[in-house]
């Protein structure tokens, strides 16, 4: 990650998925906010995955490109109630893992142009609201540990995140388990 940083590519703790218009959407938020679960929900609908826990951002002539950070996509076996195919993978569950996760299949992609940012938050209702640039930047800063390194790249990193939130739509999504089946419609409603 440090080498990437030297080449003006910056890691951020977020999931990345590619919508049908080929634009990348970042799903970010605190640990446990549902990034992997909603990423899998989208992957089941045919959305290519760039990463479920991290992606790499790079500034280009036509905006920010999101590069994949490929690691196995893992979700809790307890989601079998919503995703029946998971029950066939029960023998592969890592029971030592607190969340009883299992590797799942997904189509991975290498990169895509930035489309938007959604900050996830578990709640007791499903509501998608526009997020002001300052609030979106604060969240991305919080999810960018390597931004805090005291080197010559910190300023470029912060500027890239600043330009990103000013150039694409940003939302906050409070969600319940109902989003497991409707997240693709939720994003499509605001994409583009």
């Amino acid at each position: 990650m440090l080498k990437l940083r030297e080449h003006a590519r910056f890691y951020v703790h977020a999931a990345g998925v590619i919508a049908p218009d080929r634009r990348a959407w970042l799903l970010t938020g605190e640990t446990g906010c549902g990034k992997s679960t909603l990423t899998y929900s989208l992957a089941r609908c045919g959305w290519p995955v760039l990463g479920d826990d991290g992606v790499v951002l790079e500034r280009g002539s036509e905006g920010v490109t999101v590069h994949g950070w490929r690691e196995p996509l893992r979700v809790s076996i307890e989601l079998a109630a919503w995703f029946p195919e998971l029950s066939q993978r029960e023998s592969l569950v890592d029971w030592q893992d607190d969340r009883h996760r299992v590797d799942v299949n997904a189509s991975f992609a290498r990169r895509a142009k930035m489309g938007g940012v959604i900050v996830l938050q578990r709640g007791d209702r499903d509501v998608l609201l526009p997020l002001a640039p300052t609030a979106a930047l604060a969240m991305l800063v919080r999810q960018s540990t390597f931004l805090l390194l005291t080197d010559d790249h910190a300023c470029s990193h912060l500027r890239l995140l600043r330009d990103l939130v000013e150039s694409v739509p940003c939302f906050t999504l409070e969600h319940t388990s109902a989003q497991l089946s409707s997240i693709h419609d939720t994003i499509l409603a605001v994409a583009g």
Partner: protein, 89 residues
Amino acid sequence: MTRYRIVPDALSASLSDGAVLLNLYTKRYFSLNDTGSRIWSLLEHQASEEEIVETLVREYDVEKPEAARAVNQLLDDLVAERLIEPTSV
């Protein structure tokens, strides 16, 4: 006349609705609203506390005592966050 210096470890990003400040030493970040962002930009131009208050009174619908209180509070917060420090001029 109190002036402040932005510390070398402070990074800032101005946005359409405010700004985000980052202290690379304390590893803490700080969000500012539109008015706070304007105050930060004045600090970047080495404006004194009194000059900042006068600017806000000119640019915003605010009385001087209220502006002075708000500016003083924000400057105290920024000093506490080690994003700025007083200078002797």
